[in-house]
Subunit: 331 residues, 2 copies
């Protein structure tokens, strides 16, 4: 119940009409963002998948980050969950709590980032809410999408005897974060690669959909590999054992940290990887290799599922590695 | 990528397990809030309806408001949209950006408020995200639900010749807001009633669903009656003319403001009514009266739809009333 305040940034209706409505182009039930709700139709034989994710200035991004990068991070952390669940994202909603500082130029770049990612991931804006705040810029993306009936890949489902896999390389985003924290100076190419992994997650959407019917359980790695496999183990009521030396580290990360056990531990407890960690019975291994090849995705077997509880890392001698903390949280 | 901080409030996992998971009871696809996404199934012959709404400390509520009241406001401003669209709300997602100050007792009362409203409106929590903020407490509710295929009541659809209606009384929440702003002293019963209208909206869910097939266009009144009818007129490409003396004012509001034209103008430009404003052809008027009776909803005809543009209020002599501003915005 506060008056609209004009201060060199677009007003709410201008924001919707000029900036956000064009992002809703191909969804009939978005009504060009002129109505109160969005209306979607599930394809025959599909369940609806929904997920909400918040990112906050000062916690998940900095005010000085390029607005397009912030936009992409907001979308991609959410799309990454769809990837790990074997689901296809589609229509999304945007809730923005806006402080005074984002100006027209900021919105232009923010929306350009959203538009670029809408192309990449074939998603479209279906609605949202824009409110004022005297606090931090807060961006909440709610993604909706679909998955064939019963085909969602859950955290529950891992069974003793399954192999544990992870896509891509682990720890890169954490390395990029460390580099940003350490210095604002210009970075080398391999450093830029790590920083880019932190700033702009790369959801494994195609591979995740190929995992339907293959993976017994999956999730995306956001809190850190060991922490997230711990969540999977808890819900599946099994124990996950990871071999430290099998965890895939990028050449860039090896250059930053080295490749001793301490470096692997650091990688396996860093957050923001947005790779898929999953389990599957050994009988599926050739089908998984084929899916990896077809979607040009690196996939590494990193451990196994056994009876018991928790997720642990074993060193080269098979001894359990002790962590002070197993992961990061954005909370 | 920040460490979990323990400070007398529940940690993220404790919050989910002890406070939020119990709210997900009756939705299979919420997986007890142990997975990354929620999976929902649309009933045969139904479209999916989605809507996101943000409320922010210092803008939509105060830190000192009872936590259960904040909880109910967050849910109800969203459910109100479902009411106006003829849709049935079901599974919802909660994104919380949390500063340091909410403690365990606050969460207990917040969750109790959510639980009470889940009973009232037959909705259940299906997922969410909890993040830290150094700014204002921000609560984003994304509601999902269903509507029979093609039956959603849009803002577009009003046609010249239609009658304009509104449920309940207008301006009460604005009066309650004025009372809160004016003084913190104890209030009389009629003042409390107005304040309650501001603090806890009362979505017209049953009547909204009864309007399917009757209303040609509808929306909930949140920015102020004239402003919101202006939105409806814009999207429907018609002109809405409201008779000032027909706008329903409660006895409590008349006691606060009086009932002259200035008071009516004040009521018609106050926000947060969360009543349904709708249009319908004259042929539907007896069916509307019946729906009102069956759902125990007061419904008042307040004007008509004509060719043209915009929403205007006419005085008793049929002259257009001039407003400085036609409504409030939370932006």
């Amino acid at each position: 119940m506060t008056n609209s305040i004009s201060n060199g940034r677009p007003g709410e209706f201008e924001l919707i009409r000029n900036f956000f409505a064009p992002l809703s182009g191909n969804i009939a039930g978005a009504f060009g963002l002129t109505d109160d709700v969005a209306v979607l139709t599930a394809p025959e034989g599909h369940d609806i998948v929904v997920k909400t994710d918040a990112i906050v200035e000062g916690v998940h991004f900095h005010r000085s980050d390029p607005p397009g990068t912030i936009a992409k991070k907001a979308l991609r952390v959410n799309i990454s969950d769809f990837a790990a669940k074997g689901a296809r994202p589609g229509a999304w909603l945007l809730a923005l709590a806006l402080p005074d500082w984002p100006d027209t130029s900021w919105f232009e770049r923010f929306v350009r980032g959203l538009a670029e990612d809408q192309e990449v991931f074939a998603v479209a804006l279906a609605g949202g809410d824009t409110v004022r705040t005297s606090g931090m810029l807060t961006i909440v993306v709610t993604m909706t999408g679909f998955v064939p009936d019963g085909a969602v890949i859950r955290r529950a489902g891992a069974a003793a005897g399954d192999i544990v896999y992870v896509t891509g390389t682990i720890g890169d985003a954490g390395g990029g974060f460390d580099l940003i924290q350490a210095s604002a100076r210009r970075h080398t190419a391999w450093q830029e690669e790590l920083i880019s992994r932190y700033l702009i997650p790369r959801p494994r959407l195609a591979f995740g959909q190929a995992l339907r019917g293959l993976a017994s359980a999956a999730l995306d790695v956001s809190d850190g590999l060991i922490a997230d496999l711990g969540h999977l183990a808890d819900v599946s009521r099994v124990r996950v054992e990871i071999a430290a030396e099998s965890i895939p580290l990028s050449p860039a990360l090896r250059q930053l940290y080295g490749d001793d056990l301490a470096s692997i531990m650091r990688a396996a407890t860093a957050g923001d990887d947005y790779e898929i960690a999953f389990t599957a019975p050994p009988a599926k291994s050739s089908a998984i290799a084929k899916a990896a090849l077809q979607t040009k995705t690196d996939v590494t077997a990193v451990g196994r599922v056994v009876a018991g509880a928790g997720a642990v890392m074993l060193d080269a001698q098979g001894r359990e590695v002790t962590f002070i903390h197993k992961g990061y949280t954005h909370f």
